[in-house]
């Protein structure tokens, strides 16, 4: 593994077994189905997809909250599946949950919430702990610090609660922060503040960041690279600017076309939306999982084989048969909607 790779995920599958009446096996929900990627040190990566595409399961599997069915996660040169490595891994990774109020214990004040990870990870010196807590609160701008230390979560606004969650994720000086929809529960006017805070931490300390979101429009401002997930798989990965200017996968194209910017012209036209619904992860479609909805569907190819990754331009990978250069039809890209 090259030295600048912090996290390496290889062929990761997380399947959940579905049973009826507790013992009749119905099948597996393939929430994460064959994901491979490397995350570099100091890189901010966004994982974008609609609900049910497996993006949160991916985050939780990396965090060790779900056991992978198959595959390997290597962090800083060590496999993290074993119990003792998991403990070590958890002290080097921070987690920012979607719902800040649900993520904070209601009976603990700010000081105790932030102290707990330090105690668990063996910081015995009380003064050192307090210094660290003060430092991290300044960092997330919960100031004046003395006002906030004795407060309980319900005494904070939504934005402040989320800043506290970020502070808790950052308090052990992690190398990686995984933020799962960190702003979807917050008001528009504070979203940017939280995202800038995460971005600031990431840049100042050279952390890696995995930002899970359904909102492509925030991605360009806060990340370098983006993965698009659909049906448990990564279907396109590219630097953010490339993806936004030149989306290759028909699904990514549809997704971008469906997102409005505030513009009065929007009211005068209809949007192109692919028909149908996201696929069932219990019985996923054969071949490419997007083929039943795809405007560029090629019978005999797309519904038979799962597309491999093609690289139409450097660093831009797409899992779509249109970009298979050994096929003649692939010569031209589909028209952008």
């Amino acid at each position: 593994m090259p030295d600048d790779v912090l996290l390496s995920v290889r062929d990761l599958h997380t399947w959940f077994e579905l049973r009826r009446w507790g013992f009749v096996r119905v099948g597996f929900v393939r929430a994460v189905d064959g994901i491979t990627f490397d995350l570099r040190r100091g890189e901010a990566l966004a994982v974008v997809g609609e609900s049910g595409c497996g993006k949160s399961t991916l985050a939780k599997t990396i965090l060790g909250l779900h056991l992978p069915t198959r595959g390997e996660i290597v962090f800083d040169g060590r496999t993290v599946q074993s119990q003792e490595n998991l403990r070590w891994f958890h002290s080097r990774v921070g987690y920012v949950q979607q719902d800040p109020y649900g993520a904070l214990a209601p009976f603990m004040n700010v000081q105790r919430i932030l102290e707990e990870p330090l105690v668990i990870n063996g910081m015995a010196d009380r003064d050192a702990r307090v210094r660290r807590i003060r430092g991290v609160l300044e960092e997330v701008k919960l100031t004046p610090v003395d006002d906030f230390l004795p407060r309980y979560p319900h005494m904070l606004s939504g934005g402040q609660q989320q800043r506290l969650v970020v502070a808790r994720a950052a308090i052990l000086e992690p190398q990686l922060i995984i933020a799962d929809e960190p702003v979807s529960m917050l008001d528009a006017s504070v979203r940017v503040e939280i995202l800038q805070l995460l971005r600031g931490l990431q840049e100042r300390y050279g952390l890696s960041l995995i930002y899970i979101t359904h909102d492509l429009s925030t991605v360009r401002h806060f990340c370098e690279r983006v993965f698009v997930m659909y049906g448990g798989m990564i279907i396109e990965q590219a630097p953010v600017a490339n993806l936004l200017q030149n989306p290759r996968h028909p699904y990514t194209q549809a997704l971008l076309a469906a997102i409005p910017d505030p513009d009065p012209e929007n009211a005068t036209r209809f949007r192109e939306v692919p028909p149908g619904e996201p696929p069932s992860l219990l019985h996923p479609p054969s071949g490419c999982r997007f083929h039943p909805r795809c405007p560029a569907f090629m019978p005999g190819t797309c519904d038979v084989n799962i597309p491999t990754n093609f690289e139409p331009s450097a660093g831009h990978r797409v899992a779509c048969w249109l970009y298979d250069e050994s096929r003649q039809v692939a010569a031209k890209a589909p028209p952008r909607p």
Partner: protein
Amino acid sequence: MTANGLFSIDDLRLYFRTRKGPVQAVDGVSLTLPRGRTVVIVGESGCGKSSLARAILRLLPRNVARYSGSVRLNGLDVMTLPEEQFRQQVRWIRLAWVPQGAMNSLNPVIRIGDQVAEPLLAHRRTESLAAARRSAEEVFHRVGVPVDFLDRYPFELSGGMRQRAALAMALITVPDVVILDEPTSALDVLTQANIMNVLKAIKRETQTSFILITHDIATSSELADDAAVMYAGQMVEMSHADQFYREPLHPYSRALMASVPTLREEKRLGFISGQPPSLIDPPKGCRFADRCPARFHKCSEEPPLFKAQDRLVKCWLYA
């Protein structure tokens, strides 16, 4: 914003009684809505936009401290009607509502079709089940749900389909005005675009007026003819959509617009520091003054709604 609108509200106030004092959830909101147009009401959580919807429909909780103003529909002040008459003649007949999270509030043990047809029977628009069923089929067709879904249960439908069914339930009585409270906020991007397409089509084909309440500025532009911004219980700006989305006037609207990340356009994102004031005993002057970058000495007095060309702004900068 013509004066002889189909629907208008004037100085509407709704205060709630709490132990700490009255909460001024809706504080003197006025609005005019011509037939066939859509007004969008944007605001952040706690600004009173959902309370405004409840105040219009007179769906009030028990702890109301003050409920005043007027709601006019075709010139008739429906606020003065007795409750029973309001229920029989106005609510859901002429003023319908798609509440927030409606798609998750469908009764799980009743078939979709029966639920959608229920307003017709409950408000005595028809006595015949067959006629109600026919109307349900028509309205399902209009919102783009296959007719055979009428016999399904809510759990058999996806989120987008359930939201369409909730919309169908509001449209089935052919109301004059439909209030949509966050109709797409829990939905995925593609589903959201789909629902917006349905609403646009309905808007083009019928004379229904919509009041769209949302926190999502980008999505609100999909439907807006006029846009209004609420802050701390008050309406702070009211403009035509094409002016509003290009150049909002009130400092709060401007800051809000600057915080919306855009996909196609490069811009510096901003945020609004601080928090909205408590609606229990709010500040005397402009309620945004504490967070406003443009505040000056005048702001300690409450600004009236100033006219700037044909737009209304509650800010001393436009005096």
